[in-house]
């Protein structure tokens, strides 16, 4: 009798934990919205927020209808084929299906919304709606199945605790493909090829967004344990998450300070996010000192990544690719360097004498996912481009997408001065 009561309480506690984490991950949607809004111009703010708002709506429905079945349903090693509309679907953890679904749906929304920032200030709203349904109902779940749904990468012992690859590499590389196909914003690169500054309109909004994301990440990473247990795992994950964000911010600031003479806040904020993205995969398998190192390297990568994109004339207004794409990859690989078998990994990482085995698996997994995303997203964006068009007219881009796409302004009654 007591045994049974304890069992029920344990499941109840785990369910509460997973739902709480799901709510925190949902709140990250607000963080993404604020970061992206702050980093772009006032005239496109309504547009980016509408995209952030509607992509979570689309992701929820897409993931309910098809996404969950593809990601967690029984099928083959490449995709699941059972549980359409959740009919007959099974939970992937020791919590009720609906709690598990909500947690996973919030993750799916995060992957979808990353792309809005990279393609900001010039992508058609209608095109974005179609894209967000495609990624959340089809593309994200396929990668998810490979890694979390018992697919071929999971069978190879590829490890991604909370989604550096599943969520961030997917979102980041989708954003890269999108922004390359869209081409740079008007006026971003001069005729001589030099990049121009197109400054974000609200640093306070962007920093609020980063704090919200950091806060939400305490659901994203620790929640991925999917159970409370004795509390030791979620405690380790929580401290690692926080330390990596901190050193990401510090090292991005130092890097940009050394290179350009000033501690640029927008880069320090990108750095904290970079640290968070990087620690997402390894957070359960590394010691806190390793989290500090992983975050620090992430912070340096993000600054160099932003500079590299400008050299290549790839216009990513909010740094979506350096933060999510590059650091998703770095975080995934870092498991093979800093990971410990005693913390539940298949093989020790490079620094613990495990050789290149885990690192090789991580590299193989990351490269397969990147290849799949580049091919599938190119097809999605090209199809949208030839049917309804991907980019707004030059006229509309200059006037701003708020009026052009939505007929309303973000700051009604204020005079917004256009200088570009």
């Amino acid at each position: 009798m007591t045994q049974e009561v304890l069992q029920i309480s344990a499941v109840g506690l785990d369910t509460l934990w997973v739902l709480l984490a799901a709510f925190l991950v949902f709140f990250m949607q607000a963080g993404f919205g604020m970061v992206e809004a702050g980093f772009i111009r006032a005239k496109n703010t309504c547009n980016i927020l509408t995209k952030n708002f509607l992509d979570f709506c689309m992701a929820s429905i897409g993931f309910f209808m098809f996404g969950y079945a593809i990601m967690f349903g029984d099928g083959n090693v490449f995709f699941g084929l059972k549980g359409w509309f959740l009919a007959g679907a099974k939970s992937g953890a020791n919590v009720p299906l609906y709690a598990f679904w909500l947690f996973q749906a919030a993750f799916c929304g995060a992957a979808a919304t990353i792309v809005a920032g990279g393609m900001a200030e010039r992508m058609k709203f209608k095109a974005y709606l179609i894209y967000s349904f495609a990624i959340s109902a089809l593309i994200y779940p396929i990668v998810g199945h490979w890694i979390w749904g018992g697919g071929w990468l999971a069978k190879l012992n590829f490890t991604d605790f909370a989604g550096s690859t599943v969520v961030h590499t997917v979102g980041g590389f989708a954003a890269l493909v999108g922004t390359i196909i869209l081409k740079p914003r008007f006026g971003k690169y001069g005729p001589d090829g030099k990049p121009n500054v197109i400054a974000g309109h609200s640093i306070p909004l962007a920093s609020l967004g980063v704090f919200i994301l950091w806060f939400g990440w305490f659901g994203f990473n620790p929640g991925s344990s999917l159970h409370v247990g004795d509390g030791s795992l979620i405690a380790l994950v929580a401290i690692n998450t926080n330390l990596a964000a901190a050193t990401g911010g510090i090292f991005a600031m130092i890097t940009v300070w050394k290179m350009f003479g000033k501690p640029d806040l927008s880069m320090a904020m990108n750095g904290a996010l970079a640290g968070l993205v990087a620690i997402t995969a390894p957070c359960a398998f590394v010691e806190p000192w390793a989290a500090i190192a992983i975050g620090a390297i992430g912070g340096i990568i993000v600054v160099l990544g932003v500079i590299l994109l400008d050299k290549l004339h790839i216009d990513d207004p909010v740094g979506a690719f350096p933060v999510h794409g590059m650091n998703g990859l770095w975080g995934t690989l870092s498991i093979g360097i800093f990971g410990k078998q005693s913390l539940g990994l298949a093989y020790n990482g490079l620094l613990y004498g495990g050789g290149l085995k885990q690192l090789g698996i991580q590299l193989l997994g990351a490269l397969s996912v990147i290849t799949f995303i580049i091919i599938s997203m190119t097809i999605v964006f090209k199809l949208i481009d030839v049917t309804i068009g991907l980019r707004v007219s030059r006229e509309e881009e200059l006037k701003g997408l708020d009026i052009g796409e939505h007929g309303m302004e973000a700051y009604g009654g204020f005079q917004i001065f256009m200088t570009e």
Binding site: L398, G407, M408, F417, M418, T419, E420
Partner: protein, 113 residues
């Protein structure tokens, strides 16, 4: 000396600036302006309610030039701002009796150039 005041569509500023630079006119003052002309504003919907907007957003460009720059400046502004649609704006040309550069105390043509 003349003072040229142009009211243009805000989104045409990059084109006007480019045309002015091509004509070697680099000095200008740009401010926000609200105004209405022949078009008498436009209507917009906000939360399903029709809203009449009668003062439209414009930019006001002021450029002080010597006589031989008057025509090139006017032509550049037209080149940059003209779309052929209503609302392209207006250019006013005023006589400018005096111009003083505060830093040096120079006056007239010297001060403008």
């Amino acid at each position: 000396m003349k003072l040229i005041i142009a009211l243009i569509q805000p989104h045409k500023l990059p084109d006007v600036k480019k045309a002015l630079y091509d004509a070697e006119v680099y000095k200008m003052t740009v401010t926000n302006a609200l105004g209405s002309g022949q078009q008498k504003g436009y209507t917009e919907t906000y939360r399903g309610v029709l809203q009449e907007v009668n003062l439209l957003k414009k930019l006001r460009i002021e450029i002080a030039v010597n006589e031989d720059f008057v025509e090139p400046t006017i032509q550049s502004i037209i080149k940059g701002a003209q779309t052929g649609n209503i609302g392209d704006g207006k250019i006013f040309v005023l006589d400018l009796p005096e111009c003083i550069r505060i830093r040096t105390g120079e006056r007239g043509n010297e001060a403008i150039g």
